[in-house]
């Protein structure tokens, strides 16, 4: 190996004998501390393999001398968390909805819990601020298709609307146009009549009397004589300022022609009863609750 020990004249360092395009590589060894640290890491790794789970076996893995398991750690942490929350959540589980709202500590807990769960499960349709969108009710206002009391909100949460749950809520807005019950001209007339009920401007020259007649024959069963709606049937109040799908003539014509059938999933079985309770209190406290 004597031919490798050429010495670079400038630095006085031996070269490795490798050269690229006339540039020679100096044989500068790694600093000793670096090499020692590197060896220590190797020794450390071997020790780590022995004391911690490391190597995969056919169906499992080596368990390690410490018997460490991250799953067991998580289980312990979750158990601790349950212990910390334990009493409070248990109190929430047994208290009635009205009592929860009266107790500041329980109310704060239910609201905090509800807010988190709302973000995970409800915000996709109702929005992070529960403001809803076209076809998805705003939960901050006081207009409730199925009622805004604590119990009514809880029931909607548990069983949903047109969710397929045996106890689900089901409303029947017919497709008056599609099913041939009303002719297009009648639909335009009744749409304008509904706008008049809500105090909105109507198309010039529309026949109010004919509108009233069509409404009385087709709509009062659900929406009531005075068009104030019926929370038992999920029929909206047509005289107020809040419209789930919009109150302009075109939208109303579409609604009457094709009907509406929004879906709210049932949360029973997906969320535990205490969580649904907390959700009901949270939604109620958004401000629209009755």
């Amino acid at each position: 190996m004597a031919d490798h020990t050429e010495v670079d004249s400038v630095s006085g360092t031996a070269t490795t004998g490798h050269a690229w395009d006339g540039i020679k590589e100096l044989n500068t060894p790694l600093p000793r501390w670096w090499v020692i640290t590197f060896y220590i890491t190797i020794v450390w790794a071997i020790g780590y393999w022995i004391v911690y789970p490391a190597w995969p076996t056919i169906s499992s893995n080596t368990q390690g001398l410490l018997g460490y398991s991250s799953r067991a750690d998580v289980a312990v942490e979750l158990a601790n968390l349950e212990k910390i929350r334990g009493g409070k959540m248990a109190a929430l589980a047994t208290a009635s909805l009205a009592d929860i709202e009266k107790d500041p500590a329980m109310l704060a807990l239910a609201r905090a819990k509800g807010k988190t769960v709302f973000g995970d499960n409800c915000a996709a349709c109702h929005g992070t601020g529960a403001t809803g969108a076209k076809g998805f009710p705003n939960l901050n206002d006081d207009d409730w298709l199925w009622g805004g009391s604590l119990e009514q909100i809880q029931q909607t949460l548990l069983y949903g609307v047109r969710s397929g749950h045996p106890k689900t809520r089901e409303s029947q807005m017919l497709a008056f146009g599609k099913d041939g019950v009303l002719k297009p001209a009648e639909i335009v007339t009744v749409a304008n009549y509904v706008r008049e009920l809500a105090g909105l401007p109507t198309r010039p020259g529309y026949d109010a009397k004919a509108g009233a007649k069509i409404f009385a024959e087709n709509c009062v069963a659900c929406h009531g004589d005075n068009a104030k709606g019926n929370p038992d049937l999920g029929a909206p109040n047509l005289t107020d300022k809040i419209w789930l799908y919009g109150a302009d003539e075109a939208t109303l014509i579409e609604t009457i022609t094709n009907g509406r059938g929004g879906v709210m999933p049932a949360w029973e079985g997906r969320l535990d009863p205490t969580t649904i309770k907390a959700m009901a209190v949270y939604v109620h406290s958004l401000g629209g609750g009755k």
């Binding site: 929005g127 601020g129 403001t131 705003n138 107020d240």
Partner: protein
């Protein structure tokens, strides 16, 4: 009148060495004198405050901590004698930091690095560690001899070293221990710590601070001041020509000569320097510098060289303070035969003192007039406003009511804003429908959801100001917060 010597004529310091020199161990010699006494006194005072302050009690009534100075992190409170601060009042600490910074500047403008020489924890603990070392291993010469000895492994020497490090570790451990006492009830924590039932965090902090004190004061010493501390660099930029610094009066000292030769020269009526080059000022210096090289960054201006030099001057019958707190202006005035002038009142010192007074005054005023009932209001952003079925508009707010009193209070909430607006508090114990009342526990914050509804006929068509009032029914104290009411 002594021979005139300009600073430029002094022997230049070796400026051509490497940027980082291998550590040369410093063996400061013991010294006695005015400045040494001041240092002992300040060391005793500073360490006494640090080590024993957590044990002072202060009665705050039932269910409140009775430790005079306590940082209560879990409950987010800071107690300082009669003052109790909440996280919302963290600006007091900003004020304290400003005062501390300007105080440092003021010290610097008056007497240079007073902080470094007398008050800095690094100086105080290093000084204490040196005292222990001197007590066990002897003074400068003995220590140098022992370290240089070719046969260091004698039993006596080993026991000395073990004893020294044990005492150092003991001091360091106490230092770390005292730190954690500021964060928990001191007597309880001490009991828990010695029975090994204290919180893990406390042990970790004690370990960290024991290790840092032991390392910084026992081994790194002046290296901390010279290489780690930013203050010497900043200080050099903040000082001015009037600041009194530890100064070698070269006008009087040069040319250095022996006692005998100086006496001969004086007998002939010729000028002779007072410095006899005995190097006592170098021997006692804790950073190992020669003050006669002039002002330098490594000098922490502790004044020990003044004491050393005064001792020598007294011995050889020359006037003291050849090294003194002085400045170049006065050296030049003396050379010109004028009396020295010490200007403490300058634009700089006046400005610093004024800033300290203003900030301090503002803090005292704020503290004296601080309310024990506070309210913050935050407008809901999502949604910003809600239209109700009858056309009225509602805005929601999150209100925080802070009761800093030591008793529960009944609070009524009123608003002033949109006409005929109704305020509703979710979960409130209302007595009258539109005047919600809540109970806020002692020393507690209550977070409330507020719904303000303005009727349709009074709908403001834009954002209008709204003011919230919380009234303590018992004491009649009112606090308020302003926000806006928005229409969609």
């Amino acid at each position: 009148m002594n021979q005139t010597v300009k600073p430029d004529d002094l022997q230049p310091v070796d400026d051509y060495g490497p940027l980082y020199e291998a550590h040369k161990k410093v063996y400061p010699q013991s010294v006695s004198g005015t400045f040494r006494r001041i240092k002992w006194g300040l060391m005793g005072f500073c360490l006494g405050v640090y080590y024993f302050l957590p044990f002072i009690r202060w009665n705050r009534g039932l269910a409140a901590p009775d430790q005079a100075v306590l940082v209560d992190l879990p409950n987010q409170r800071f107690y300082f004698f009669f003052i109790e601060l909440w996280p919302q009042e963290v600006y007091y600490f900003t004020g304290l930091l400003i005062i501390a910074a300007i105080g440092l500047f003021l010290m610097n403008a008056i007497g240079g690095r007073i902080w470094c020489g007398y008050l800095c924890p690094q100086t105080v603990w290093t000084d204490l560690f040196y005292a222990v070392e001197r007590l066990i291993e002897g003074d400068r010469r003995e220590r140098m001899k022992k370290d240089a000895s070719s046969d260091p492994m004698k039993l006596e020497r080993i026991s000395e070293i073990v004893l020294k490090h044990s005492i150092w570790l003991l001091i360091a451990w106490w230092t770390g221990g005292a730190w954690v006492l500021y964060f928990n009830d001191a007597p309880t924590l001490v009991k828990e710590l010695v029975t090994f039932q204290g919180p893990m965090l406390a042990y970790i902090w004690i370990a960290i601070l024991t290790a840092t004190t032991y390392t910084l004061a026992g081994f790194m010493r002046e290296q901390v001041c010279v290489y780690m501390c930013p203050w010497p660099r900043i200080q050099a930029a903040l000082t001015d020509e009037w600041a009194l610094n530890v100064t070698y009066r070269y006008d009087r000292g040069e040319t250095r000569t022996s006692v005998k030769k100086a006496a001969e020269l004086r007998a002939l009526g010729q000028p002779a320097g007072d410095c006899i080059d005995c190097r006592q000022c170098v021997a006692v210096c804790p950073t190992g510098i020669d003050i006669r090289d002039g002002a330098q960054m490594d000098c922490i201006q502790c004044g020990l060289c003044i004491d050393a030099c005064d001792t020598v001057m007294t011995k050889i019958g020359r006037p003291p303070r050849l090294i003194a707190y002085d400045n170049d202006i006065n050296i030049h005035r003396r050379q010109e035969g004028k009396p020295p002038v010490y200007k403490l009142v300058r634009a700089r010192t006046v400005a610093y003192a004024a800033i300290i007074a203003v900030v301090g005054g503002a803090m005292v005023y704020k503290l004296a007039t601080r309310s024990l009932l506070d309210v913050n209001v935050l407008h809901d952003r999502n949604p910003i406003a809600v239209k109700l079925s009858d056309g009225s508009v509602r805005n929601a707010y999150t209100m925080r009511v802070l009761n800093k009193h030591g008793f529960d209070r009944v609070i009524a909430i009123d608003i002033e804003g949109p006409a005929n607006a109704i305020v509703h508090v979710v979960g409130a114990d209302s007595v009258t429908p539109d005047r919600p009342m809540i109970v806020v526990g002692r020393d507690q914050t209550e977070e409330l959801r507020l719904l303000v509804t303005a009727p349709a006929e009074n709908n403001p068509d834009k954002s209008i100001p709204v003011k919230f009032f919380v009234t303590d029914i018992g004491l009649g104290v009112v606090a308020s917060a302003a926000d806006n009411f928005v229409s969609p």
